[in-house]
């Protein structure tokens, strides 16, 4: 393996551009992230465990990860359906709907937060019909789940759409020739091809929902032990100047994020391989 200097590079500018890239990356991303690590190791192992397994913290994990899992599940199923409808069928307004699917990506989280909170609050547009039926959405974990569904909506749609578009109709026709009815063709031919993409989208939606703050904070009740999400707990600890506690919990979230990132990369590799 030759050194950087010895390799004969035709195009100019490798040195300066790589140098600038690494410098800027370190200054803005790597060094600040390392501050988290360095602060965490000032705690003893026992202090760290106490900080991240306190009852209130554990409750926040349950709320955050639980709601994110359910929301990503809903998005997985309905997002896949939306992708199917957008790719396979033609109807008036299809292109407009396709563009609108990206709204949760583009809409600032605070706007989504206050809007969802006001719609589902007891006298809101939907809340006023749901409350009498006994379905309390605002200020409960159910509201957190609703906000997370909004946030994760585009992920599954956008990962499944390209796979559906590449799907060869000949395979379905062959299955039909061999005697499969439409449902069988879907279950045994189409769905297995879509599964890696759906799981990737699910994981992306889950990862986004777990870290989400702005969209969730207004509709959640923010009551400790009941409807408090982990990011809020971090901010609360910061406001109480408990930097060590905040850092410990943030480290747990970071580890969860990286694990999810790794899973997503593996899923994407699987998805690419099965598409060939």
């Amino acid at each position: 393996m030759g050194s950087f200097g010895r390799k004969n590079r035709v195009l100019p500018g490798f040195g300066p551009t790589l140098g600038y890239t690494v410098c800027y990356l370190s200054l803005i991303v790597l060094i600040p992230l390392s501050a988290l690590f360095f602060k965490t190791v000032t705690l003893t192992w026992d202090q760290f465990l106490v900080a991240v397994t306190a009852p209130r913290v554990l409750a926040s994990y349950r709320v955050t990860f639980g709601a994110a899992l359910l929301a990503a599940g809903v998005n997985g199923v309905l997002g896949g359906l939306v992708a199917w409808v957008l790719v396979r069928y033609r109807f008036p307004g299809r292109k407009l709907v396709d563009a609108l699917v990206d709204l949760p990506f583009a809409l600032p989280t605070a706007v989504a937060g206050i809007t969802l909170a006001s719609i589902y609050s007891p006298n809101g547009w939907l809340g006023r019909y749901l409350e009498p039926c006994g379905i309390r959405v605002a200020f409960t974990p159910l509201g957190i789940m609703v906000a997370m569904i909004f946030i994760g909506l585009p992920f599954v749609v956008r990962t499944v759409q390209p796979v559906l578009e590449e799907l060869d109709p000949e395979i379905e026709e062959a299955a039909s020739c061999l005697g499969a009815n439409r449902w069988q063709t879907f279950c045994r031919v189409i769905f297995p091809t879509l599964l890696p993409a759906m799981l990737t989208g699910f994981a992306l939606a889950f990862a986004r929902a777990v870290g989400e703050y702005g969209s969730v904070i207004f509709i959640a009740g923010n009551m400790p032990m009941v409807s408090e999400i982990t990011p809020l707990l971090i901010i609360t600890k910061l406001e109480q100047y408990d930097y060590a506690g905040a850092t410990a919990i943030a480290t747990v979230m970071l580890i969860a994020s990286f694990t999810l990132l790794l899973s997503i990369n593996l899923l994407q590799k699987w998805s690419r391989r099965s598409a060939e």
Partner: protein
């Protein structure tokens, strides 16, 4: 009106019966209407609840105007910086191969997988009072956390990868042939970049800038952690929305929120146009724009 992809009414073997199709479309559109259209409509309806005069009055409030100024300032600082980085990084990573390249690409993507609150927290750990530079900054009376520079830095972190991750695959797929040809014809490095590379990637750059800007102007979690929430000086537009909502000024909160919603709609429209242009570029062949 509702047909299958190939325009057929539905050959029995390769498409669903019509009633299934209608049902699926109804469920899908119902889901989207509930989760997308309803909130979007709610923003504008609630913003105008008290009429146009109140709406415009809310937007002309001094605190709101200073929030708009701060948001614009943040975008003006972060977007060009991350744009420059994105172009430089894409050149280094797409046009050359070297050990550690995929690690570097993964590291560039890191801010995407970090929760916004954690993004803000790490800057507090570096520049806050108890942080690495805390004592130094206090002695020299430089304010970063709970002041504008902190907001700009946290926003730069969160919007860091947008341009780079658009350009790197784009430039990789375009290869090095045209640049190498330009060099053999005597062009210098910068000449090659501006006259050969740039026209090929300009739509990708625009796409990345649009997304970067939308996120920079709308960021809430990270900015919430590093801002002092002081009205009129360290509040961005999203933070101002939060303040107004928390003090029950709902019409005003939604009025300010409607600005961000309009920004989102413009972003979506521009994004769709640029995507179409990029697709066009691929079908016509690169370099023929």
């Amino acid at each position: 009106m509702v047909t299958g992809k190939n325009g057929d009414g539905g050959a029995p073997g390769v498409s669903e019966p019509a009633w299934v199709r209608y049902l699926l479309i109804a469920v899908a559109l119902g889901f989207l209407a509930l989760f997308l259209l309803l909130p979007l409509a709610a923003v504008f309806v609630q913003a105008l609840e008290k009429g146009w005069a109140a709406y415009l009055g809310a937007l002309r409030e001094p605190d709101t105007l200073s929030a708009v100024r701060l948001t614009l300032l943040t975008a003006v600082c972060c977007v060009p910086a991350n744009l420059f980085f994105g172009v430089v990084a894409a050149w280094a990573l797409a046009k050359f191969s070297f050990p550690g390249k995929s690690l570097l690409i993964t590291l560039i993507d890191l801010p995407f997988s970090v929760s916004p609150v954690v993004s803000g927290l790490v800057y507090v750990l570096v520049f806050g009072l108890q942080g690495w530079f805390g004592p130094f900054l206090q002695v020299h009376d430089i304010k970063i956390i709970f002041a504008v520079p902190g907001i700009v830095l946290a926003t730069a972190f969160v919007t860091f990868p947008f341009v780079a991750r658009e350009l790197i695959p784009l430039m990789e797929s375009q290869g090095r042939d045209e640049e190498e040809a330009a060099l053999t014809l005597g062009a210098g490095g910068l000449q090659t970049f501006f006259r050969v590379t740039f026209p090929n990637v300009k739509w990708g750059i625009l796409y990345g800038v649009i997304l970067c800007n939308a996120r920079a102007m709308g960021e809430f979690g990270a900015v919430s952690v590093v801002s002092g929430h002081v009205r009129g000086s360290t509040n961005t537009v999203p933070l101002q929305v939060e303040i107004l909502y928390n003090e029950y000024s709902y019409a005003a909160a939604f009025a300010v929120a409607s600005l961000l919603a309009l920004l989102a709609l413009v972003t979506l429209a521009l994004k769709t146009v640029v995507e179409w242009k990029i697709r066009q570029g691929f079908s016509v062949g690169s370099g023929e724009n």
